[in-house]
Amino acid sequence: MSQVSLTVNGRQVSGAVEDRTLLVHFLREHLGLTGTHVGCDTSQCGACVVHVDGKAVKSCSMLAAQASGSTVVTIEGLADGADLHPVQAAFKEHHGLQCGFCTPGMIMTATDMIRRHPEGLDETTVRAELEGNICRCTGYHNIVKAILAASAAMGKAAKGKAKKAA
């Protein structure tokens, strides 16, 4: 057994887990954070993407013990209270989801993608960056549209903030 202690969605949590426990299982089964999903056994589908210390990580590719000491954000922790994160809002506005199963992983990947591309995104880049996330419902068309829209909105908001600060 391993003792793990980490911050999840702003809350300090700890627990004793079997050594083989993956981070995704710790989140789902120990913490009841079932928004993070398991869609494959080979770290291909991306339904389990969360942020570990600010970066997108497939939580099936990491042991819970490895995440000890880290700060983790899951889909449940992305919105600011009742205010949706701009990526969440864009997925809704642009119909970027159907069955919703891949959606949490898509949104966490997209959020990280937008953060890493402050210069903005184009369709080719978004499609290439989505390589690790599989969706069977949407054909990606509206997911790409939603990410581009969120990226533009967040870029605009950041510029507005910078202007205000100046």
Partner: protein, 782 residues
């Protein structure tokens, strides 16, 4: 109001929970005392079970129960069935082999369930499953449908001699023979429709809970049709009578057909819950999904088309071998027959058609309906035939199609279907314009200069949806009726609950169904809730598949709304002392037309429940139920144009443009309809370019993970150009045709027609992987 009504692009009501991680899928469910199951599955494609030793497994940590097929049979649990009877052309019924939920004497495919292990944790259940010792005597396996009937092929079921399940004909044989006699041209083709794995992103799961005190079962399951699951589990599998069995399909993460069927696992989890005294949850891992979810397609076909000297089609002759896998899944017999051969006329006026289908057993996973189900196989065959014929005749593929289009409706085909509405030329025109077909040769030339092969391909598909009139399907062998039910409950405060037998697993019913009600009763969307997926809440329903939720499910809601509206108007008229014929519903109120007299909607509802002042003899309350049985199938149709660029050095195909022009009849929410087309087209592109299911000769599935089976990813597909036209369906009150499967039906032939146009050879099979395309280019050169 307009913005929320029929035809508006309303953002989905259900999205909030999915984008915030609050969706509730079966694997998210926790019941007090719940334990976890793992299945021991056959590692062999075909073998006799000699001995099962569970003693080591039982002694493993955390193990609560290890149960076998013998115990299951001793408790009277029934075999799985196929619910659609097909008779061979000699009149004999189809040969259904026994399928025990846990194999008893023999295993027939890799993944066949043999033993269930229940333990405290999922890890412990899997550890113990590894410790179950089963002695097999391996038998020779057959995996290729075209070899299953060969002399000396291994016999899979004693009931089915030579592995032949049925040998079935549809059409007019004499006329077809005569048509070929007078033909000026005959085009022949051998074609394979590749086997696919549906791959809904949520793996299948089941949570069975037997409540001893109440002698009652609850099953949470990843189902597209929980009521059918309950019916079948009570009527055929002897799990429990219907009143003792509640089936709940909560949020379900995609289905595409694969979650229609009742599989062994949900039956076994329910039974195991009673046996062990604990709630039992099983969740498939992805490899189990690959091994055991019903696969799709897998047809081998020889076809011949007869034309007169002016290239008018005279007749069509089709011989298909359909691989149904190791067991007959729930609707497996209907897919290659009444969902396939009935569409062999395509969009064309073909006076004589003869389709023959031989369905066979092989030592592979069961095959059943997957998005489109039979119709993609028909469309691929016909639309490849049209393209290849046009090329052989040296005429434009668009013109060959145009010359043969059905142009007047209703049109009776020689293969049962009566097309009631359509305008195929308009879809073709729209698609050609959107694709800038006129400018294609310039683009081809430009690509050629850059060392690329550019090609363009058409597909003019038609399908039959909204399945279907109960009496009609009953006469064709269906074990159930295919109506749908709805109940509209107006609460005392005027809010509305709509209970539907349709099931949403991505289709957005909570939004479109609410739009329909808001439009009709002029109340806000927020005051309407759609309830589905629970047999304790909704009395009965037939579920969601075959693009039927709009055409059939929503039509049932319309019928219930008719009754609600009539009663509401009676109450309002009584309250205002007006004539009920003068009452109109506007803006949240019932008004006397042409006056300012009105009763707010909520006040009318309250009056229905206080019952202090109702018309004489009227029952209190406002709740109405309707069952709707459609008059006909619906016939969505359209034209897809795909443009590709092939790199001759690598064989890599890039889809540079994909245009879809669909006729879905009337549309409730265009945003949701477009989403369905995007997804369907992508699955079709997956079939055409990427997805190949591969068994080796011994029956081992070589493509059993996302490392081996190529799912379409964002970088494999383009953004799509969509448009719609509408010839409303005359067969339902909404004029809806359905849109769920069209994309997957229409797209594969468009892609393959484009590739073959680019590389100048017809000799390519799906998936057209770079390796195959490269080899085809090389072979054509030599």
């Amino acid at each position: 109001m307009g913005i929320e009504g029929v035809g508006a692009r309303v953002a989905r009501k259900e999205d909030k929970r999915f984008i915030t991680g609050a969706g509730r899928y079966v694997d998210d469910m926790v019941v007090p005392g719940m334990k976890h199951a793992a299945f021991v599955r056959s590692p062999h494609a075909h073998a006799q079970i000699k001995k099962i030793d569970v003693s080591k497994a039982k002694a493993m940590p955390g193990v609560i129960g290890v149960l076998t097929g013998k115990e299951l049979k001793a408790d009277g649990i029934g075999n799985l069935i196929c619910g659609w009877m097909i008779h061979s052309k000699d009149g004999s019924p189809m040969k259904m082999g026994a399928w025990s939920p846990l194999a008893v004497d023999k295993v027939r495919y890799v993944g066949d369930a043999v033993v269930i292990v229940v333990a405290d944790t999922k890890g412990q259940a899997r550890d113990a499953a590894e410790a179950v010792e089963i002695t097999y005597k391996e038998l020779k396996a057959v995996v290729d449908a075209s070899k299953a009937m060969d002399k000396g092929a291994p016999q899979i079921h004693p009931e089915a001699e030579n592995n032949l399940i049925f040998d079935w004909d549809l059409g007019n044989a004499d006329e077809t023979a005569a048509a070929f006699k007078k033909a000026a041209h005959v085009v022949k083709m051998d074609i394979v429709n590749n086997r696919l794995v549906p791959n809904a992103m949520e793996p299948r799961a089941a949570l069975g809970h037997y409540d001893k005190a109440e002698d009652h079962y609850t099953c949470w399951t990843t189902s597209q049709n929980p009521h059918v699951a309950r019916l079948v589990m009570s009527a055929f599998y002897n799990v429990a009578p219907e009143n003792k069995l509640r089936v709940i399909a909560p949020d379900v993460g995609g289905g595409f057909g694969s979650k229609i069927y009742i599989y062994p696992e949900e039956i076994v989890c329910l039974w195991a819950s009673k046996k062990t005294g604990v709630p039992v949850k099983w969740v498939a891992d992805r490899t189990e999904s690959f091994l055991c979810d019903a696969h799709g397609r897998d047809h081998h076909t020889h076809a011949e088309m007869a034309f007169d000297k002016d290239h008018k089609i005279l007749g069509f002759k089709v011989e298909t071998i359909a691989n149904l896998g190791a067991y007959m899944s729930l609707f497996s017999s209907a897919t290659p027959t009444y969902l396939y051969a009935t569409l062999l006329s395509g969009q064309y006026d073909i006076p004589a058609i003869l389709g023959n289908v031989k369905a066979v057993y092989t030592n592979t996973a069961p095959v059943d309906a997957y998005r489109g189900a039979g119709r993609p196989e028909a469309a691929f065959l016909i639309e490849r035939m049209m393209e290849v014929s046009a090329r052989q005749f040296g005429i434009s593929p668009a013109e060959l199609r145009r010359k043969n289009f059905i142009t007047s409706f209703p049109h009776q085909t020689p293969v049962i279907m009566n097309y009631d509405a359509g305008d195929f030329a308009t879809s073709l025109d729209m698609a050609m314009k959107a694709a800038d077909y006129a400018g294609f040769e310039k683009r081809r030339e430009k690509a050629r200069k850059a060392g690329k092969l550019r090609g363009i391909g058409f597909s003019c598909y038609i399908e039959a949806c909204g399945i279907a009139p109960s009496a009609a399907v009953g006469s064709l062998g269906a074990g159930v009726g295919l109506w749908e039910s709805a109940e509209v409950r107006v609460n005392a405060v005027g809010t509305i609950e709509v209970l539907t037998g349709s099931h949403s697993h991505g289709q957005g019913h909570e939004t479109t169904f609410a739009q329909l009600v808001a439009d009709r009763l002029k109340v806000p969307m927020d005051s309407i809730s759609i309830v589905h997926g629970d047999t304790d809440k909704v009395q009965m329903g037939m579920g969601t598949y075959g693009s039927r939720s709009g055409a059939v499910g929503m039509s049932a809601i319309v019928k219930a709304l008719d009754k609600v509206e009539a009663k509401a108007k009676k109450i309002a008229a009584h309250l205002m002392e007006a004539d009920e014929g003068d009452i109109v519903i506007e803006n949240g109120a019932l008004k006397v037309a042409g006056t300012d007299k009105n009763v707010p909607w909520f006040q009318m509802a309250l009056a229905a429940y206080t019952a202090h002042n109702l018309p004489a003899g009227m029952e209190p309350g406002l709740k109405e139920t309707a069952f709707y049985d459609p008059a006909n199938f619906t016939f969505p149709a359209g034209c897809y144009v795909c443009e590709v660029e092939v790199d001759p050095e690598t064989g890599m195909t890039e889809i540079v443009q994909f245009v879809a022009a669909d006729d879905f009849g009337n549309i409730i929410n265009p945003m949701i309809v477009e989403g369905q087309v995007h997804g369907g087209v992508t699955q079709g592109i997956g079939q055409a370019l990427l997805e190949g299911t591969s068994y080796d000769a011994s029956g081992q599935l070589l493509t059993a993970s996302y490392m081996d089976y190529t799912m379409p990813r964002a970088g494999d597909v383009p953004s799509y150009k969509l448009s719609t036209s509408s010839t409303p369906s005359p067969s339902n009150p909404l004029g809806i045709k359905g849109c769920g499967e069209a994309g997957a039906i229409g797209s594969p032939p468009a892609v393959i027609n484009a590739i073959t146009d680019a590389i100048g050879t017809e000799d390519i099979t799906m998936p057209a992987t770079p390796n195959k395309v490269w080899a085809a280019i090389r072979a054509a050169k030599h």
